[in-house]
Amino acid sequence: MNWLTNFIRPKIRAITAQKETPDNLWQKCPSCEGMLFHRDLRENMNICYHCGYHMRVAMVDRLRALFDNGEFQEIQVPRTPHDPLKFRDRKRYADRLKESRAKTGRDDAIIVAQGLMGGVPVVVAGFDFDFMGGSMGAAVGEGIVTAAQVAARAGAALIAIPSSGGARMQEGAISLMQMPRTIAAVDMVKEAGLPYIVLLTDPTTGGVSASFAMIGDIHIAEPGCTIGFAGKRVIQETIREELPKGFQTAEYLLAHGMVDMVVPRKEQRETIIRILDLVFRKTKDSQGFGENGAAPGGNGRRNGKKKGRGGGIAALRRAANINKRSDKKVRAAARR
């Protein structure tokens, strides 16, 4: 896989970011405490180049690294009611939202994107942890629903990439209801016979882990990331004992049968493409997912760069634009 292509744009961004934050040229690895130069770190996908520790990475950078040629199209998520409870703690929720919007330039903690991976149409619902800890309220729920609908309509795979502390308390029980809501959403993709893959990243906890994030067809986890239901502190206060070593890490979940594999960041794209290839191209010379044979299917090679993409993007575009189609049509589209 060629990482250079995927990192041209992030590199440019890193250089611009450098001007804004001249104080943070160097940072310490939280794991090995080795000093890391920000540009090198960024080029290494925020993985410590001394010890391999995976730090959080911006969702946009992640998406560029996952999609073919780093190309993807963002899907607009319909706006949900803001601050439905008029919640206020020491600060107004409305103000917290404003701050997060200013900080991230996003409406809420979710990004929905469509594109191709190994030539296969894919819709990704990814979390932006910088937006209130990636917490899930109505807007995030809306993002998952949108992603699932587009995937089901276009016959695309759905990939969820959670990075979230859980439910957004400031939306009270509305945030709780996003648990059944997002489960109902991803089930539309499953019903359509399409793969639903979850790429678990740091952290995946609380109401997010106890909903759509834990019912994927395939669970891929990033090394060292925290995955669990209850918070470590809550557990410690309840049991009043030391927690086992490595508790609630990706590796711990792998050992306990909750994830299929732990895959380093740089191998994730390749791994997902291999899975998609196996699911979508059922025979070696399969026409694959293309519409009416318009797309020359791949020959099963892992590197999808040269594969046809006749039906893929077009189908995705149509699905994203058409919002009111009957369930029957959705299923028909999905079967193609």
Binding site: L85, D89, G137, A138, A167, M169, I174, M179, M214, I235
Partner: protein, 315 residues
């Protein structure tokens, strides 16, 4: 019995009435009059107090240990209750009792959380906090309901899923998610009632239902007010602020259109008149069943999914 702080004036009055009665001097008409005067005063005070409970007071009432619990409802409402045990994978979870039974003539699957009513039973039932086994057993029973085409009645009363090492090890998150998924996928009616505490994921795991009701003084919340206060206010002492902000009362939940109805409690709360409370719940479940039973599989499934898909949706 735990005493609710805000009930103090009422309890004092009731104490005085009892004292007067104990004096038992039947010769004195004055005492009888005094008792009846005080009784009506106590009654009035009770109505007043309970008509304007603050959210935090509702939290206390919802958690009151004398409230009717799962086992009380089953005893009163379910004939031939046949408890079923185990998740067929690891263990039985006593926090999540359930089984087959007959509700007012109709065979059904009943399940819910039981908190226990004294120290021993509370420990046995793990204070109503289920582990993954409980949620996997719930899935098992829901699939059984589907297999036998029986409606499902769930009674929700939990502070939340149990936060423990074993629970995490055995996949608490996955167990809850799958339980919600089972609720969304079965082709038989599901009716849920929050009878006390509807605590977070542990509650929604069995409350993703066609019709969801809450008792008048029950609560339903994404996080406990104490937990919310300690995170957002950095002090559990702000639990009452959190309780108000979270909009966790039955009245709030109805207004937010997240539940389908409120079941009235007797004056002074469910803990004062268990039988009446249980009857009210039974009546509502019966009506709900009558409404849902004629629906065909597809309608039921579509409506249920649509209902949850639209919660918090863009207008």
């Amino acid at each position: 019995m735990t005493k609710l702080e805000f009930e103090k004036p009422i309890l004092e009055l009731e104490g005085k009435i009892a004292e007067l009665r104990n004096m038992g001097s039947h010769d004195s008409i004055n005492i009888a009059e005094e008792i009846s005067r005080m009784q009506s005063k106590a009654e009035k005070l009770l109505i007043q107090t309970y008509s304007k409970l603050t959210p935090q007071q509702k939290v206390q009432v919802a958690r009151h240990q004398d409230r009717p619990h799962f086992v009380d409802y089953v005893r009163e409402l379910i004939q031939d209750f046949t408890p079923l045990a185990g998740d067929r994978l690891y263990a039985e979870d006593f926090a999540m009792p359930g089984g087959l039974g007959r509700f007012r003539g109709i065979s059904c699957v009943v399940l819910g959380q039981e908190k226990g009513s004294d120290t021993d039973s509370r420990i046995r039932h793990n204070f109503g906090m289920a582990r993954p086994e409980g949620y996997r057993k719930a899935q098992r029973l829901m699939h059984m309901a589907q297999q036998f085409r029986l409606p499902v009645i769930t009674l929700v009363d939990t502070a939340g899923a149990y936060p423990g090492v074993g629970a995490e090890e055995r996949g608490q998150a996955e167990a809850i998610a799958r339980s919600i998924e089972a609720c969304l996928r079965i082709h038989v009616p599901i009716i849920s009632t929050v009878i006390g505490e509807g605590g977070s994921g542990g509650a929604i795991a069995i409350a993703t239902a066609d019709l969801v009701y809450m008792l008048e003084h029950s609560i339903y919340s994404v996080i406990s007010p104490e937990g919310c206060a300690s995170i957002l206010w950095r002090s559990a002492a702000h639990a009452n602020d959190a309780a108000a902000a979270l909009k966790l009362t039955a009245q709030d939940m109805l207004e937010l259109k997240l539940i389908d109805g409120i079941i009235p409690e007797p004056i002074g709360g469910a803990h004062r008149k268990k039988q009446e409370t249980i009857r009210n719940v039974g009546d509502r479940i019966e009506k709900a069943l009558q409404r849902l039973m004629p629906w065909d599989d597809e309608t039921l499934l579509r409506q249920r999914n649509q209902k949850f898909l639209s919660m918090g949706a863009a207008a």
